[in-house]
């Protein structure tokens, strides 16, 4: 976008919103919204505390473990569902149910099954992320060019080779799209897990700050979380663009 002949850098609209936030904060309308400058100063302080680093570590651990399982289970299951009619009939209703179900309601059940520790949080994260990854991998495989499959078959490709050399690569743009959305959902999952199951990580910080009305601290951690989620999502979107240059030519 250009303004008065100057090219504005990306996301410059954030400046306007930041300014608005600062004005509202300075007016002291509500304790709920401290000025942005105060939040930023607090953010700097918070980052340096041991409690924050511990929370970051705990959250990152649960997040990456959950995403890891969602990807390593979700992609092969989705590809197999796309290939096998039987498996598809068997699993698709469940995938659709879990995709649209309010998973938060399931979290207490998970606590009963897997206890109050890290395990239950990781499983919650996986459950939030995995369904869309499965569905996208399935969709990617189903739109595969039939003659690519015939080609691999005619040159004597084994099922394993066809799987790794054809199906995976042909479905890659859709798979990456699914992983990106899945990861965004995993951020939700890990925070909900930390709030509901056991008060650890960022969930514990949110709980602590909001219970003590430390709003600047609360917003600071939230901004950190948003920034992390946004960075990961943008990185995946970049990867997606890199591989989809050929998607249009399939």
């Amino acid at each position: 976008m250009t303004l008065l002949g100057y090219r504005l850098p990306g996301m410059s609209s954030l400046l306007i919103w930041g300014l608005l936030w600062e004005i509202i904060g300075q007016m002291g309308l509500t304790f709920f919204v401290p000025p942005l400058s105060e939040v930023m100063a607090t953010l700097w302080e918070v980052i340096q505390t041991a409690a924050f680093r511990k929370a970051l570590y705990e959250t990152a651990y649960a997040f990456f473990a959950g995403v890891f399982f969602a990807i390593t289970i979700g992609i092969p299951v989705g590809i197999l569902m796309g290939k096998s009619r039987l498996l598809d009939e068997l699993l698709l209703p469940w995938v659709n149910v879990f995709l649209s179900a309010p998973l938060t309601a399931l979290v207490p059940v998970l606590m009963v099954l897997f206890g109050f520790g890290m395990k239950a949080i990781i499983i919650t994260t996986t459950l939030f992320a995995i369904w869309i990854i499965i569905l996208n991998a399935r969709a990617g495989v189903r739109q595969i060019n039939r003659s690519l499959v015939e080609m691999a078959h005619s040159f004597g490709a084994s099922p394993w080779r066809a799987f790794t050399q054809i199906y995976f690569w042909a479905a890659l743009p859709e798979i990456l799209g699914g992983v990106r959305i899945g990861i965004i959902r995993a951020v939700k999952g890990v925070i909900i897990g930390q709030l509901l199951i056991s008060i650890v990580g960022f969930g514990a910080l949110f709980e602590l700050y909001s219970a003590n009305f430390l709003m600047a601290h609360f917003w600071a951690v939230l901004i950190v979380l948003f920034a992390l989620a946004f960075t990961i999502s943008e990185f995946l979107a970049y990867l997606e663009r890199r591989v989809s240059y050929y998607a249009a030519k399939r």
Binding site: M151, S154, F155, Q165, W169, L172, R250
Partner: protein, 267 residues
């Protein structure tokens, strides 16, 4: 053997030709639809046989059955005397829509058949590079398919099929997705290929002119259900050079004759 035929066109081709591929009593039904009925055909070794017919006559179905990609409902296919049960290293397929891997370079695409057969990387890339040169694409080894024209993509498909060195080349309307000028060049190149490579070609087309131009033997298939209605062996103009074929009287007569027998099947 084919060399002598191309140079002495008067010699009869059908003097007990040795068959590379035979189909015996092939039938194929899809539910209630009968695609092929009791089809038997011999494909002479070292020659190019066209399967020609109106659309929906099952010529591609027959080609895929020979390739082992489809199973016939009844009947058998023999390649060099051995019954076909699936795809094998004795046959290579050239696809109508090229079937190239969009994420792989020309070199890797051309070597893909060898890769699937477990040939070591250095060797398969050597062989692929050789055939990329053979089909006139040297310099494009590291290009991606979407950077090439349709004709060039089909040359990659051809290089891939040649690189595995199968005795039988199965071509499913290989030139139908390329423009007319490129198609003519392809047809001339194909004639040289049949002459120089000691391979048996089976070629599916819906173009009468193309079939007569490139074929040693033309099998005309009629639809619903498909059977072979006629086998034509153009011999007279084979040795006259690629430039003279299209104005040869025999070429023109055969084209007319085939059109006369097919016209009633065109809706």
């Amino acid at each position: 053997m084919d060399m002598s035929q191309t140079k002495t066109p008067v010699q009869p081709v059908d003097a007990a030709p040795d068959s590379a591929v035979s189909t015996r009593n092939i039938s194929k039904t899809y539910g209630a639809v009968e695609a092929l009925r009791d089809l038997s055909l011999e494909f002479p070794r070292g020659q190019l046989t066209s399967l020609l017919g109106p659309s929906g006559c099952g010529k591609t179905t027959l080609l895929k059955i020979i390739a082992g990609l489809l199973e016939p409902t009844s009947g058998t296919v023999e390649v060099n005397g051995k019954t076909v049960t699936g795809p094998g290293p004795d046959r290579a397929f050239v696809f109508q829509d090229f079937a190239l891997l969009p994420w792989a370079t020309v070199l890797r695409n051309a070597a893909f058949g060898l890769e699937m057969r477990g040939v070591a990387r250095a060797e398969r890339e050597d062989r692929a590079a050789h055939y990329i040169k053979e089909v006139g694409l040297s310099g494009f080894e590291n290009a991606y398919p979407h950077e090439l024209s349709g004709g060039m993509r089909q040359r990659v498909g051809l290089a891939r099929a040649l690189a595995v060195d199968a005795q039988v080349l199965l071509m499913d309307e290989p030139f139908s997705a390329v423009d007319e000028q490129t198609r003519r060049k392809f047809q001339e190149d194909l004639l040289n290929l049949v002459r120089n490579e000691n391979k048996t070609f089976i070629f599916v087309t819906h173009s009468i002119e193309e079939a007569v131009y490139v074929s040693d033997q033309i099998a005309i298939l009629l639809p619903r259900p498909s059977r072979v209605s006629e086998i034509i062996r153009p011999t007279g103009f084979r040795g006259k050079g690629v430039d003279n074929i299209r104005r040869d009287p025999e070429y023109l007569d055969i084209v007319d004759e085939i059109w006369a027998s097919l016209r009633s099947y065109v809706e």
